[in-house]
Symmetry: C2
Subunit: 194 residues, 2 copies
DNA sequence: TCGACAACTGAACGATCGTTCAGTTGTCGC
DNA sequence: GCGACAACTGAACGATCGTTCAGTTGTCGA
C-alpha cells in the first residue's frame, strides 16, 4: 500500500476509535487494531500521538469546511445561499456518521490542547467570516454590528443543535432549530422585549 | 478531618484537575497531589475512578441546579422569572470559575460513559421541564408544541453561548446571545421566512 | 539479478496508570 | 489507660501506555 493510503486508513481508524471510546480510549494499540496494521506503523507515519490526534481532527474539520463551500456553489438567490450554508453542516454525512461525537470530543480536547484549539478556532473564524459575508449579501440593510451579532448567535445555536442531536437524535427538534437559525439570520430586527 | 470534609476536598481537586488538564489528565495521583492527600485515601473514600469522576460531575451539576432553583424564588412577574432562570446559568460563579470547561468535558465524557450520560440527561430533562413550566405561565397563549420548540431552541442556544464563552470569553456576545434567548422564549411566533 | 529504499512488523523499553493492602495515626467511649 | 474504629499513608502489584528499533517484506530501476 502507498504511504498516503495507509495514512488515510490510520486516520479513519482514529476517528472510529474516538467515536466509540472517546479520546481517552484512543490508544495507539486500539488504533492499530482498528486499522489492522502493526503498532509500529503508526509511529512510522506520524511523529507521535499528539500529531496523530491533531491530524485526525484536522481532516474531520476539513470535511465540514468542504461541505460548506460546496453547498453554495450553485445557489444564486442570496437568502437561499444562507439556508444552504447553514444546512450543509447537517447533511447526512455529518448526522449519520457519528461525526458530531467527533466534534464534541474536539471541543473538549481543545480546552487543554493548544494545537487542537487552533484547529477549532481557525475553522470557527473561517465559518463566521463566510456567514457574515452571506448575511451581508442577503440583508444589505443591516449594519455590521447587527450582522456580527446574528452570525455569532446562529453559530451558537448551530452548535447547540449539534449537541442535542448527538444526545437524542430528534429530527423534529433539528428541523425546528434550523428554522429558528434561519429566522435569527434573515428575520426582522430583534424585538427588544426588555 | 471528618470523612465528609475529605470527600469534598477530593472532589474539589478532581474539578480543578479536569479544568486544567481535562479528563484525560485526571489521574488518581494528580488528584491526590492537588488535594494534598495520599494516593490511597482516594480509594478509601471512592470505590474506583469511575465513581470518583461521576461524583465530581454530579456535584458540579447539582450546583447549577440549585442556582437555577434559587434564581426564581423571589421573582413574581412571569416574564422576569423566565429571564432570571435563563441568566442563572451565567452567574459569576459559572463564568469565572472555569465551570464551563467542566461542563464541556462532561458533554464529551457522556458520549462514551453511560453513568455520566445519565447525570447529563437527568439535568437536561429537569431543566427543560422547568423551562417549559415557566414559559407556560409567562405565555399562556402558546400551545404545548410551540412551548416545547421554544424551550429546546433556548437550551440549544444556551449551550452554544456557553461553548463560545469557554472559547473566547466575549461579554458582548454573551449579552447579545442572552437577549436572543429571551426573544426566542418570550417573543412573537416565528416569522416562517420560508 | 541484485542493490536500494520505502513500507511494514512486533518484541522490548521505561513510564505511568488504577488498585490493593499491611501498617500508622488520631479520636473517641469506657 | 486502653481497646475499637474511622481516617489516613505509601510502597508494591500487574496492566497498559507511547515510543523505539533491529529486522522483514515488497517493489522498483539499473
Amino acid at each position: 500500500m502507498s504511504g498516503g493510503e495507509t495514512q488515510q486508513t490510520i486516520l479513519d481508524a482514529v476517528q472510529a476509535v474516538i467515536v466509540r471510546d472517546g479520546v481517552r480510549g484512543a490508544s495507539m494499540r486500539q488504533v492499530a487494531e482498528e486499522a489492522d496494521v502493526s503498532l509500529g506503523l503508526i509511529s512510522y507515519h506520524f511523529d507521535d500521538k499528539e500529531t496523530l490526534i491533531v491530524a485526525a481532527f484536522e481532516r474531520a474539520t476539513a470535511r465540514l469546511r468542504e461541505a460548506s463551500e460546496q453547498s453554495i456553489e450553485h445557489v444564486d438567490d442570496p437568502e437561499e445561499r444562507v439556508r444552504a450554508f447553514l444546512r450543509s453542516s447537517f447533511g447526512e454525512e455529518f448526522l449519520d456518521g457519528d461525526y458530531l461525537r467527533l466534534r464534541i470530543s474536539l471541543w473538549a480536547v481543545a480546552l487543554t490542547d493548544p494545537a487542537i484549539a487552533a484547529v477549532d478556532a481557525s475553522f470557527f473564524e473561517e465559518y463566521a467570516t463566510a456567514l457574515r459575508g452571506l448575511i451581508t449579501t442577503a440583508r444589505p440593510d443591516l449594519d455590521q454590528g447587527e450582522i456580527r451579532g446574528r452570525s455569532i448567535d446562529a453559530i451558537a445555536l448551530t452548535n447547540g443543535i449539534w449537541l442535542n442531536w448527538a444526545r437524542y437524535r430528534n429530527a423534529d427538534d433539528l428541523e425546528i432549530g434550523l428554522r429558528r437559525c434561519e429566522d435569527i439570520i434573515l428575520g426582522p430586527p430583534q424585538q427588544g422585549t426588555r
